[in-house]
C-alpha cells in the first residue's frame, strides 16, 4: 500500500497555550506543488514546524510517507528537505563545502560530479562553486540550498517564504526549478506571501485562516491557471 507523501488531518498545534493551528487538513501526493498562503501569524510556519517535528501536535494526525514525526522523527526527517525563509550557509565555507558538509550531516554523501550537476541545474554560476558563501547574494544562497535539496533526493520539499527578497527574475527562475523538481516526483509544500508566484507554479493553493485551510483552489489547465480575482478577494477577506 502506498501512502501519500504528506497527509495531515485535523491537525492542532498549540504554542504558549494558544491554538495556532486548529483543525488543518491537507494531503500531498508525489509531484504536487502546494502553496500555503495566509497572513502573518496565520499558522503557516507552525504547520511546517509540526511536519518537521520541531513542535508537537496536540491533536489530529500527521504522517510523512506513512510515518509519524511523533514516533519516527528521524525517519520522517530523512524524507524531508527544508529551506528556511533566509537560507543561511556557513559563511566561511564555499558553496561546495557547504553542500558537502550538510550532505554528510544528512548522511547522504554525493560525488563531486553529482554536486556540480546539481549546481548546474539550479543555475549557480560555475565561478561561485568555490566561492565563500559569505559573499553570496540571497539568490545564490537559495540556489545552493535548492541544489542541496535536490541532492538529498527526498520525496518532500518544505519551503518557507522561498521568494521573499528575490528579484522578479530570480523568483521566476526559482519557480522553474520547482517545476523541474515536481516533474521528478518531488512533492513541494511552500509557505508564501507571494500570491502571483504561487499562482504561477502551484498545483493547488490553500488559504490558511484561523489555523485551518479556509479555502482551496485547484489549478486549471490552460492560462491563467487560477482565477486571480478570486484568489485576491479570498486573500483580502482573511486579512
Amino acid at each position: 500500500m502506498t501512502h501519500p507523501v504528506l497527509s495531515i488531518d485535523q491537525l492542532v498545534v498549540e504554542r504558549g497555550g494558544r491554538r495556532i493551528v486548529d483543525g488543518l487538513s491537507l494531503t500531498l501526493e508525489a509531484g504536487e506543488i502546494y502553496a500555503l498562503l495566509g497572513g502573518n501569524g496565520a499558522g503557516k510556519s507552525t504547520t511546517l514546524f509540526a511536519i518537521l517535528g520541531f513542535l508537537e501536535r496536540s491533536g489530529g494526525t500527521l504522517t510523512v510517507g506513512g510515518q509519524d514525526p511523533a514516533g519516527q522523527l528521524d525517519a520522517v526527517r530523512a524524507q524531508i528537505a527544508y529551506l528556511p525563509e533566509n537560507v543561511a550557509l556557513y559563511d566561511h565555507l564555499t558553496a561546495r563545502e557547504n553542500v558537502d558538509y550538510l550532505l554528510k550531516v544528512a548522511d547522504c554523501p554525493r560525488s563531486r560530479a553529482d554536486v556540480e550537476a546539481a549546481f548546474g541545474s539550479v543555475g549557480l554560476a560555475a565561478n561561485a562553486w568555490d566561492m565563500r558563501a559569505g559573499r553570496f547574494s540571497k539568490g545564490m544562497r537559495q540556489k545552493t540550498a535548492i541544489a542541496l535539496a535536490m541532492l538529498r533526493d527526498t520525496p518532500l520539499l518544505l519551503l518557507d517564504e522561498p521568494t521573499s527578497g528575490l528579484d522578479p527574475a530570480a523568483a521566476a527562475d526559482f519557480h522553474k526549478l520547482l517545476e523541474t523538481l515536481a516533474a521528478r516526483g518531488v512533492a513541494v509544500l511552500m509557505v508564501t506571501h507571494d500570491l502571483l508566484g504561487a499562482a504561477d507554479t502551484a498545483d493547488r493553493i490553500g488559504l490558511i485562516a484561523g489555523g485551518r485551510i479556509a479555502s482551496e483552489w485547484f489549478a486549471q489547465p490552460g492560462e491563467p491557471r487560477f482565477d486571480l480575482n478570486a484568489l485576491h478577494s479570498g486573500f483580502a477577506r482573511v486579512r
Binding site: L52, D74, R77, A78, P84, V87, A88, L93, Y101
Partner: protein
C-alpha cells in the same frame, strides 16, 4: 566515525577555534616544559646538596673531637624529592623548601626556615598544567561551545540543520565531542609527553589524566546547560565568563578569606621565640633539674647521665631537646591549624568543583600543604633518629671521631626517620 571526521573538518575551518586550541596547546606545552624545568631545578638543588655534603663532612671530620662537636657542627641534609607528577601540579613547592639541613639542636628553631626565593614570582601563582587545565581550558571550552545552538540560530541555520534526520546524534553530539576532544588533546598530549619524560608511573599518569578529563567534562556540562538554555550567544558568553570567574577566582578567594578568619593558626613567631627562651634559659636552670626532666623522656640513659659542674654536651643537648618538648603542644597546634585550614579547603572543594579538582591534582602530585606538613613530619622523625644516635655516644661516653661520623644515620626521603 564519519560524523566525527566531518565535524573535525568543520572545526578545522574555523580560524578562531583553531587559534583557541592552539593557544591552549601552547600554554599546556609551556606549562609542562616549565614544570619539568622546575622539577629538574629541585632535583639539581637536592643533588648539589648531597654532593656538597661530602665536602662539609670532610671539613667536619678534620676537627671533630667528640660526639658533642659532631652533633653541634654536623648539619645533615633532608629533602623532599619532587614526585613523578610534580611537574604537572607544582602546588606550593615554590613557597615551601625542598631541602633543609638540620642538626641535633632544638628543632623548632630550625624547621621553619624558608628557601630563598623571589616572592614576586610566587605572588601570581604557578604556571603549571594544573593551572592551564583548571583556569585556561574552561575559557577555551566556553569559547568553543557557548554558541553551539545560539550561534546557528543567530546565523539562521538552526532550523535547516535541526530538520536534518538524526541531527542530535550526528550533529550536536559529534560537534561537542570533537570540540571537547580538541581541548583534551591540547592538554593531554603535552601531559603525556611530560609524563614520559618524567617517568611517571602509568597508573598515576592515568589518574592525573582522569582529573584533567574530569575538569573538562565538568566545564563542558556547565557550558552546555547554559548554551541550551540561553538564547543569545553574547548573553551565553557573558554568563559563562561570570560563572568561570565566580567559580575559579572569586569564590575560592572568598572561601580562603573565611577559612583563614575562621581557623586561627597560632603565631609561629611566638612559638619560635618561646622555644628560644626555654632553650637559653637552660643555661641558667639548675642542671640536675634539666637532667631529671630529660631522663624522664630517655630513662635508658640514666646510667651515663652524671655531669661535671662545668659544661658538658650531654647537658647541652638535654636542654636543647627540652626546649622542643616545652613547645611541643604549641607546635602541634600550629601544624594542626594549617592542616585544619587545608582540610576546610578540601571540603570547600566539594562545593567549588574546579578548586576541588585543582586540589586533587596537587594532592595526587604530592605538592599540596598536606605533603609539606608530611615532609616536616619526616624531618621530625629523622631529627629524632639523629639525636638519639648522638645521645648513645654522649651518654655512654664512647669515643667519637671521623669513623663514627660516617655512621651518622642518613635521611631517607621515603620515611624520614
Amino acid at each position: 566515525m564519519t560524523h566525527i571526521l566531518r565535524e573535525m573538518w568543520l572545526l578545522g575551518r574555523s580560524r578562531s577555534a583553531i587559534w583557541a586550541l592552539l593557544l591552549l596547546a601552547v600554554c599546556a606545552s609551556a606549562s609542562v616544559a616549565l614544570g619539568l624545568a622546575s622539577v629538574a631545578r629541585d632535583r639539581a638543588v637536592i643533588d648539589r646538596m648531597l654532593a656538597g655534603q661530602v665536602a662539609e663532612e670532610a671539613a667536619l671530620a678534620a676537627f671533630v673531637e667528640d660526639a658533642g662537636s659532631g652533633a653541634y657542627y654536623g648539619f645533615q641534609p633532608t629533602w623532599d624529592p619532587p614526585s613523578d607528577l610534580a611537574f604537572a601540579a607544582l602546588g606550593s613547592r615554590d613557597i615551601a623548601p625542598a631541602v633543609l639541613r638540620v642538626r641535633a639542636l632544638a628543632l623548632e628553631g630550625q624547621i621553619y626556615e624558608n628557601e630563598s626565593s623571589n616572592p614576586e614570582l610566587a605572588l601570581p601563582g604557578r604556571f603549571d598544567l594544573a593551572f592551564v587545565a583548571v583556569y585556561v581550558a574552561p575559557l577555551v571550552l566556553i569559547a568553543l561551545l557557548h554558541d553551539l545552538w545560539s550561534g546557528e540560530r543567530e546565523a539562521g541555520r538552526y532550523h535547516a540543520l535541526a530538520a536534518l534526520p538524526r541531527a542530535r546524534r550526528r550533529l550536536w553530539t559529534s560537534r561537542v565531542a570533537v570540540r571537547l576532544a580538541g581541548v583534551l588533546v591540547a592538554l593531554l598530549l603535552p601531559f603525556g609527553i611530560g609524563a614520559l619524560m618524567a617517568g611517571t608511573a602509568p597508573l598515576r599518569a592515568l589518574g592525573f589524566a582522569g582529573l584533567i578529563t574530569l575538569v573538562c567534562l565538568l566545564w563542558t556540562a556547565i557550558v552546555l546547560v547554559v548554551a541550551r538554555l540561553g538564547v543569545r550567544s553574547a548573553v551565553n558568553a557573558a554568563s559563562l565568563a561570570a560563572v568561570w570567574f565566580a567559580l575559579t577566582l572569586v569564590a575560592p578567594a572568598g572561601v580562603n578569606l573565611a577559612i583563614n578568619a575562621g581557623v586561627p593558626v597560632p603565631d609561629g613567631a611566638a612559638l619560635a621565640r618561646e622555644n628560644r627562651e626555654y632553650v637559653h634559659a637552660g643555661w641558667d636552670r639548675p642542671r640536675d633539674r634539666t637532667m631529671r626532666d630529660f631522663l624522664k623522656v630517655y630513662p635508658q640513659h640514666e646510667a651515663g647521665s652524671a655531669i661535671p659542674p662545668t659544661f658538658h654536651w650531654k647537658w647541652y643537648f638535654a636542654f636543647q631537646h627540652l626546649g622542643d618538648l616545652h613547645v611541643a603542644e604549641q607546635s602541634q597546634a600550629y601544624r594542626d591549624g594549617i592542616a585544619r585550614r587545608a582540610e576546610m579547603g578540601r571540603i570547600a572543594g566539594w562545593v567549588l568543583p574546579p578548586a576541588g579538582l585543582a586540589q586533587a591534582m596537587s594532592a595526587m602530585a604530592g605538592t599540596d600543604v598536606t605533603a609539606q606538613l608530611d615532609y616536616q613530619m619526616r624531618i621530625r622523625a629523622y631529627h629524632q633518629r639523629l639525636r638519639e644516635f648522638y645521645y648513645d655516644y654522649l651518654f655512654s661516653e664512647k669515643p667519637f671521631g671521623p669513623q663514627e661520623l660516617a655512621r651518622v644515620p642518613r635521611f631517607d626521603p621515603a620515611i624520614g626517620g
